[in-house]
Symmetry: C2
C-alpha cells in the first residue's frame, strides 16, 4: 500500500509522516557525507571536518578492563540475563549514590531509570509529562533532533528565540511563550550547539518564573534537563546543578560524551526526589518502555558503566581545541561567545546567510555547519572533537578562507 494514498484516504497520515521525513535530509549528515567523500579524494586528514559531535578520545581503560573481566569470569546466564525493566538494581543504586555524593541531593534508586542514551531518556521524559497537543518549550539555539523527538510523541515543541548576545536565555520571549499549554521546559546546558553553560543567575531566574507560572496555572511545569555534556566544562566556568534549583526536575543523562561510548546507548533518567510523585514517575517509565519497545539498556553495559561512574575519558583536549579556535576566530574578527563547555563553538558567519558562508568554506576543505536548523540563522557550528594537530592545520585554512573570501 502506498501509505496515505490508498482508498482509506486520511487513515494513513502517520505512516505518511515517517515517509515524509525521508525527504528531509539532515544538514549535518549531508556535510559529514561530503567530508567523507572529499576525504577519499585528498585524504581524510586533509579535510577539516567540524560537522559531527563524535567524541574523539577513548573510553577510560577501567571500563574496558571491567568488560573483559566480567566476560571472562562471570556466569554468562547472569551477565547476559534480563535486566529488570527499570534497570539493574545495583546499577540504579550506584547511580543514585554517585549523584547524591556529587550534588548533595538525596537520590535513591527509586529515582533512577536506566535508559538507552539521552535519546532514550528524553523519550521517556516527554511521555511522562505530556499528552498529545501539550507543549514543550526549548531555547534556541537547540539540538535539532529535539524536533522529531518531541513531535513524534504527539506533543508540540515550541522554540524560544535566542539571546544572541550571550546565548543565555531570552527571558521576555520565554515569559510570553510560557502559556498554560506548556507542560515542560527542556534545557540543555552545557549547550549543543552554542557551547554555553547557563549561569546560576540564568537558572535561578528561569526556575523562579516556572514556579510562579506553576502556581498561576495550577499545574506542574516540569524542567527536563538534558545533560550529556555535564562533564565537559572548561576552567573557571561555574556549571550549576539544575536539579538543585527546581523540585520538578527530570534530569536526562547520557554517558556517550563523558565516557566516549555513544554507540553503546547508555544513560539514565533521574527525577528529583522532591518532585511530586517522583517514585511513581520512575515506575511509569517502565510502562512507557513497553509501548516503545525499549526494555532497558544492555545488561553488560549497565554493569560496566556502574563501575566507572565517577570517571571520564580524558576530556582536556576539547578545552585545548576550544582555546585555539576561539582565539583565532576573535583575531579574524568573528563575533563569537566563548564556550564554557562541550566540544562546540558557535560563531556568527561573516555574511548574513550562514548557508552561503559554509558553502564557500568547503572550497578550503573546512566543513562548518550552518545554524538555521539550530534555530539561530546567521550562525554556524564547529564540533571540535578532532585532534589538536588537525585543529592547528585547520586554522591556517580558516585564515586563508576569510582573507580570500572576505578580504580580512
Amino acid at each position: 500500500m502506498d501509505a496515505g494514498q490508498d482508498a482509506k484516504g486520511e487513515k494513513h497520515m502517520l505512516v505518511q509522516k515517517y515517509k515524509d521525513m525521508l525527504s528531509k535530509k539532515s544538514v549535518i549528515r549531508e556535510l559529514s557525507e561530503f567530508a567523507t567523500a572529499r576525504g577519499q579524494e585528498i585524504g581524510y586528514e586533509n579535510v577539516f571536518d567540524y560537522s559531527l559531535g563524535n567524541p574523539s578520545v577513548p573510553v577510560p581503560q577501567a571500563f574496558t578492563d571491567r568488560m573483559i573481566q566480567m566476560l571472562a569470569t562471570r556466569d554468562p546466564m547472569e551477565l547476559h540475563g534480563y535486566s529488570p525493566s527499570l534497570g539493574i538494581t545495583s546499577v540504579r543504586e550506584a547511580v543514585a549514590a554517585s549523584l547524591e555524593q556529587r550534588f548533595g541531593i538525596p537520590y535513591r534508586k527509586e529515582h533512577i531509570f536506566m535508559a538507552s542514551g539521552a535519546a532514550g531518556a528524553l523519550s521517556h521524559a516527554f511521555r511522562l509529562v505530556t499528552e498529545p497537543g501539550d507543549e514543550i518549550l526549548t531555547f534556541a539555539p537547540y539540538f535539532p533532533e529535539y524536533g522529531p523527538y518531541v513531535n513524534l510523541t504527539g506533543a508540540v515543541l515550541k522554540v524560544v528565540p535566542p539571546n544572541t548576545e550571550t546565548f543565555q536565555i531570552n527571558f521576555p520571549a520565554f515569559e510570553e511563550m510560557l502559556t498554560e499549554k506548556v507542560m515542560a521546559v527542556l534545557i540543555n546546558t552545557p549547550n549543543n550547539p552554542s557551547g554555553i553553560v547557563y549561569s546560576t543567575e540564568t537558572i535561578q531566574k528561569l526556575t523562579d518564573i516556572m514556579r510562579r507560572k506553576q502556581e498561576e496555572y495550577g499545574h506542574e511545569i516540569y524542567l527536563i534537563s538534558d545533560e550529556p555534556y555535564r562533564e565537559i566544562v572548561f576552567a573557571g566556568v561555574d556549571n550549576p546543578c539544575v536539579s538543585k534549583f527546581y523540585d520538578n526536575t527530570i534530569m536526562c543523562y547520557s554517558f556517550s560524551k563523558s565516557l566516549s561510548l555513544p554507540g553503546e546507548r547508555i544513560g539514565y533518567v533521574a527525577i528529583n526526589p522532591a518532585c511530586k510523585d517522583a517514585e511513581t514517575m520512575i515506575v511509569m517509565c517502565g510502562q512507557i518502555s513497553r509501548g516503545i519497545g525499549h526494555n532497558c539498556p544492555p545488561s553488560i553495559i549497565q554493569l560496566a558503566v556502574a563501575d566507572v561512574l565517577d570517571k571520564t575519558a580524558d576530556l582536556s583536549v576539547y578545552e585545548t581545541n576550544m582555546n585555539l579556535i576561539y582565539d583565532c576566530l576573535v583575531e579574524l574578527g568573528f563575533t563569537v561567545v566563548k564556550p564554557g563547555g562541550t566540544f562546540y563553538i558557535f560563531p556568527k558567519a561573516l555574511e548574513p546567510d550562514a548557508v552561503l558562508f559554509c558553502n564557500k568554506a568547503k572550497k578550503y576543505d573546512l566543513i562548518l555547519v550552518p545554524a538555521d536548523n539550530f534555530g539561530a540563522p546567521g550562525f554556524f557550528r564547529m564540533a571540535y572533537c578532532i585532534s589538536t594537530e588537525k585543529v592547528k592545520r585547520s586554522l591556517e585554512a580558516l585564515r586563508k578562507f576569510v582573507e580570500q573570501e572576505y578580504g580580512k
Copy 2:
C-alpha cells in the same frame, strides 16, 4: 500534578494510562516473585519454578571470545562509536547473507534493520504499517505483552480465539475478524505459550486468506512474524519459513533465546525483498526510531552477534525437558498438545478454573502460570528452561499434587 485529575480534566488521559498500568500486576511476575520468596525459605533448588521464559543455557563461547578480542584489540572510538541509525552496515550485510543462505530469499542489507530485541523490532513494525485506530490481529494463545506493545502505539490488538484441539489457527474465527480495519496479522511460531509450531498447511491457508482479503479490500495486509523461538524446534518437526509464503512479511527476530542473550537487547527487522516498498520501509524504521528514542542496539553487541549468526546456545536441554514433562502429563491424564519447539508446554488444567488449579499447585512448590492472560482460560503454561535434574524432581511433586488434589 496528579495526572488526569487536574483542572485540565481530560487532557491527561495518556499519562493516566501509564499510571493505570501500574495497578495491573503481571501474573507471571507475581508468580516469579512468589517463587523467589519461597526459595528464600526452603532453598530455591526446591522450588519448581516454571514461571519465567529465561534461557537456561550459556551463550556460545565464540560470542564471549569475540567480545573479549574486540575489547582487547580494537580502537575504542571505532568499537564504541555511533552505529548508523539502521544498524552497522557490515552487520546488516551479515544478517542478510545468513538469511539468504538459510531460507533462499534474496535478502540484502537494504531489507534489514537492527533492533533492540523482539520488543524493539515489533515496536517498529507496528508503527510502520498502522495508524492509530487500525487493527492488528493475533491468535490465542498469545504472549500477553502484545497487548501493551500494540495498544500503546494507538493501534488496536484484536485476538482470534484459539483452536484448543491443536493450537493451530481457528480459521472460521480468523476469517470473520479479518475486516477492512485490519492492517497487519501478528503471528508467533514456534509459539509462546503453546510451544506449537504452525504447520506448512496452516501458514499456506493463513496467507491464502490474507492474499484474498488484500485484493478484496484494496490495501496491503502485512504479516508480522515474531520469531524469537525460530531455532528451538524439536526432532521431526517441520518449521516452515513464514516469509516464503507471503511477500508482505515483516520478520521480527531476537537473539535472546537462540543465543541466551536476553539482557543485551539485540535482534532485527527483516522485510521480505518482495514486499511492496520494502527498502523504503527499512529506511522509515530509522525515522520511527527518532520518535521512540531507540537509536540502534549497542555497537559492540551488534558486532559480536554478527560473528555468531549461525551458532546457537546448546538448546538440546529444552527438548529433553519437554519429553520428560510431556510423558508425565499424558500419564497423569492431562489434555496436552505436544510442543514442536520453544521451552513452553501448555496443558489443560484439571479443573475449569486454571487460576485455582495453579494456586493449589503452589502448595507443592510447583509454580505454574494460569493462561487467562494468554487468551486461553482453563490452560496453564510451564516454562521448562530449567535444569533437567530439577525437572525430574518436579515431576514427583506434580504426581503428588495430582494424586492428592484430584485423586488420580
